[in-house]
């Protein structure tokens, strides 16, 4: 890695002592010698293991649940179903008033994706819990499922989630989050070329080294300590408090040393049910995802579809950009309504375009609920935007890097969501990339600056 101090030297004081120094990490020796304690290193006498009975169907009505055989299995201590969860229907963003509550901790009457948790089994050993889970009999009536976002949005599509009433999230702005800036249709009319293209992604997995999980120990005084690898301590505590209808003062969360998150550990899935198990049995409980659960049960990055329509002039100026983004939330909201909205605030990318129209939809389908991941709401949008930029440049016969200089945002430029640009540095990044990659551009672009003229 090289620090190129010549850029922005006039706005930066390099007079610091500890900041800017490549100090060795104090936790590295522990990590590389196996001495660092992670949540799963906590082991308590009498600790129970929790395993989930999961839906084998994408969409089904639950006719009945029979746990009698499982209860007789040696080592089984407690079996939990929906009726045991004090506030079973929840949604995590209710903490910032983004509702409605739309997800069950344990399925109640219905499952909406293959892998959904239905029954929790607590047993003396992991093996006993696994074997007993296989003995739980659930009678399902399979329902039609919808997997494709476009299909889900059509009239007459199977309804994924009754708590929403339609297969998209209803924002205060309607069926999508909207950004309107300038007159996009006039922009297309006046453009030399109009190009509309569609981009698509698949879900991907965070693939952390350490799978999601927690260990819960009763403190003996009606209080519970939860050792967890959540990415957000109080966010998880507050949601647990709601789900279990327990005052926050009864909950003590300990964490902060995590083997990789990437956004995969912000969903509040394992902690509430493990604490409930500890409360109802009076015993310590651990609930740790297997690698298979981490890959197919825990939320992936959402699949997205992005449609971009651009109006561009022969001289390289983009005069209009219309973006329609679809985020596949799967069966439940989790963080997806936020991610789709974050996308609306990110388009049209780091370019100054006078006419912009953005609609971003959060769509429900019968698949594993997606949620946050590194680059949430932005990564797939950037893929679409930057491939589109390459296509536009080639359409008008211009060098792709020079084309970006022409449109790059600079300090003071008004963004589509009506915030003036501050602290821009796109131009300088491209100038340095031009040098480093030996990708020459015209001298006028190398002389550009992100600073406002005369300021």
């Amino acid at each position: 890695m090289e620090l190129r101090k010549s850029y922005f030297a006039d706005v930066r004081k390099d007079d610091l002592h500890e900041i800017g120094q490549p100090r060795p990490r104090s936790d590295s020796p522990g990590h590389v010698t196996g001495k660092t304690a992670f949540f799963a290193d906590r082991n308590f006498p009498g600790m129970l293991h929790l395993k989930m009975v999961r839906s084998p169907h994408h969409h089904a009505r639950i006719r009945s649940i029979d746990t009698s055989e499982a209860e007789k299995h040696p080592g089984v201590v407690k079996i939990l179903t929906a009726k045991d969860v004090p506030h079973n229907v929840y949604t995590i963003l209710i903490l910032i008033q983004v509702g409605p509550e739309d997800e069950t901790v344990l399925a109640d009457g219905k499952v909406r994706w293959k892998g959904e948790a239905v029954v929790a089994v607590l047993a003396e050993t992991e093996r006993a819990a696994q074997e007993a889970a296989a003995k739980v009999k659930v009678d399902y009536e399979v329902l039609p499922a919808v997997f494709d976002m476009e299909e889900a949005l059509k009239p007459g599509a199977p309804l994924v989630n009754e708590y929403h009433g339609q297969n998209y999230y209803l924002y205060d702005s309607g069926e999508c989050r909207k950004v309107r800036f300038g007159d996009v249709e006039a922009g297309f009319t006046g453009a030399d070329h109009v190009l509309e293209q569609s981009y698509q992604s698949s879900p991907i997995e965070h693939a952390p080294t350490e799978t999601t999980g927690c260990v819960v120990a009763p403190e003996g005084n009606d209080r519970f300590t939860c050792y967890t690898n959540t990415q957000a301590m109080f966010f998880t505590l507050d949601n647990t408090s709601i789900i279990l209808q327990m005052p926050g003062s009864k909950l003590h969360f300990v964490g902060g040393t995590v083997g990789g998150g990437f956004g995969g550990k912000v969903d509040v899935i394992v902690e509430p049910i493990a604490i409930l198990g500890a409360k109802l049995t009076g015993r310590p409980v651990c609930f740790i995802y297997s690698r298979e659960e981490e890959m197919q049960i825990s939320s992936p990055r959402a699949a997205e579809k992005v449609v971009i329509k651009d109006g561009v002039m022969k001289d390289g100026r983009i005069v209009a950009r219309k973006v329609t983004g679809y985020t596949d939330a799967g069966a439940y909201s989790r963080h997806s309504p936020y991610g789709a909205q974050k996308g609306a605030g990110h388009y049209p990318g780091p370019y100054t375009i006078p006419n912009v129209w953005i609609d971003t939809y959060c769509v429900y389908t019968n698949r594993t609920p997606s949620s946050a991941m590194r680059g949430f709401g932005v990564t797939i949008g950037d893929f679409a935007l930057e491939v589109q930029m390459d296509k536009l440049a080639r359409l008008i016969g211009m060098d792709p890097l020079e084309f970006r200089f022409i449109n790059a945002y600079r300090d003071g430029d008004m963004k589509a969501h009506r915030q003036p640009t501050e602290g821009a540095a796109l131009i300088e990044c491209m100038q340095e990339a031009s040098r480093a990659a030996n990708w020459p551009v015209a001298e006028k672009y190398m002389a550009m600056s992100s600073y406002v003229k005369g300021a």
């Binding site: 990590h31 698509q200 300088e428 990339a433």
Partner: protein, 334 residues
């Protein structure tokens, strides 16, 4: 049939934080009788090195070496509130809270030292080595150890401080979408060079040259680990990863690292990282959040390089050999 070479470019920006929900983090700082400092937080270190960075920020602000600061974090009985580690917010939000808390603690420390040295607190400075000196008369000094002892046992002072950083919630305007979704923005430009085998559809990423503008590299070695890791993750996202290879079909999802494809060490490109620093107006010592954005520009850069190499557009991720071969076949048929 041949191995074809191509290169592609992408340029991006990335927001720091999550203002669309309200974005608070708090911190407490106090000295122990040994003259060391504790930073107490509830922020989570995901492995990226948050604890180390908070120690360096506290040390810089108080004026002590980093190894005199211990970070105690993520116990909800002791740590003040943090929204969480996500949205590229950890360093930016918690860092600002730590600076505020450390400033308050530093002020008490200087006041105690001033009483011991019988001077005004405003006439004192720190040497960064654990001592407080009288400006212009450095022979007149006191160690932080002695200041801490004085505060605890003689003066009855608590060398401590409280820090709070809150970005108030922004509500998007319904019709226009006017909003303030984040604070500062990091930037990047990536050039990727690939080889594509037009017989097998296989892509080899030869080089990735990344330029990142991240406000301030608070610890350059840790910035490097994050940016290199992110660059690899971007390649992985572009060419390999998916839990549902035939999305929207739900079948064929990988359940372990044998089935879920990711690049191995031999599949990773020669990676170059160049860092620019335009300090942000509201970041701790000018830092922005580079954690998420560093994995983004490689994806379109690789996609554009594949087109440059073989003349087909793969607009669906991941860019698998199967998709490339199908596109080449369709191109030949036309």
């Amino acid at each position: 049939m041949a191995i074809r070479r191509g290169r592609g470019v992408a340029a991006i920006n990335y927001p720091t934080g999550m203002n669309l929900g309200g974005d608070p983090t708090q911190a407490l700082v106090h000295s122990t009788p040994t003259g060391n400092f504790m930073v107490t937080l509830s922020s989570v270190d995901l492995g990226q090195g948050m604890k180390q960075i908070m120690a360096q920020i506290c040390a810089e602000t108080i004026g002590v070496p980093t190894d005199r600061v211990v970070v105690d974090t993520a116990d909800t009985d002791t740590g003040p509130h943090c929204m969480g580690t996500f949205a590229s917010r950890g360093t930016h939000r918690a860092g600002n809270a730590v600076i505020q808390a450390a400033r308050e603690a530093r002020q008490v420390m200087l006041e105690v030292a001033a009483e011991e040295l019988e001077v005004n607190a405003s006439d004192l400075e720190t040497d960064g080595q654990g001592n407080i000196l009288v400006k212009g008369a450095p022979q007149k000094s006191i160690s932080m150890f002695d200041v801490a002892l004085s505060a605890h046992f003689k003066r009855g002072r608590s060398i401590s401080g409280r820090g709070m950083f809150l970005i108030p919630r922004s509500y998007p305007e319904k019709e226009t979408g006017a909003m303030k979704p984040s604070t500062c923005y990091a930037h990047a430009c990536t050039v990727a060079e690939v080889e594509v085998d037009d017989e097998t559809g296989e892509v080899t990423v030869l080089t990735v040259k990344n330029v990142f503008e991240i406000g301030r590299a608070l610890n350059p070695k840790m910035v490097e680990q994050q940016l290199v890791g992110g660059s690899w993750m971007g390649i992985s996202h572009a060419l390999y990863e998916t839990t549902e290879p035939y999305y929207p079909n739900r079948d064929h999802g990988g359940t372990d690292f044998n089935q879920y494809l990711m690049p191995g060490p031999g599949d990773l490109a020669e990676t170059e990282i160049i860092v620019l620093e335009r300090p942000s107006a509201d970041g701790p010592y000018g830092a922005k959040g580079p954690g998420e954005m560093c994995a983004n520009p490689q994806i379109p850069a690789v996609a554009n390089a594949v087109f440059d190499a073989v003349g087909v557009r793969i607009d669906t991720l991941p860019i698998t050999p199967e998709r490339i071969l199908r596109a080449l076949k369709a191109q030949a048929a036309n």
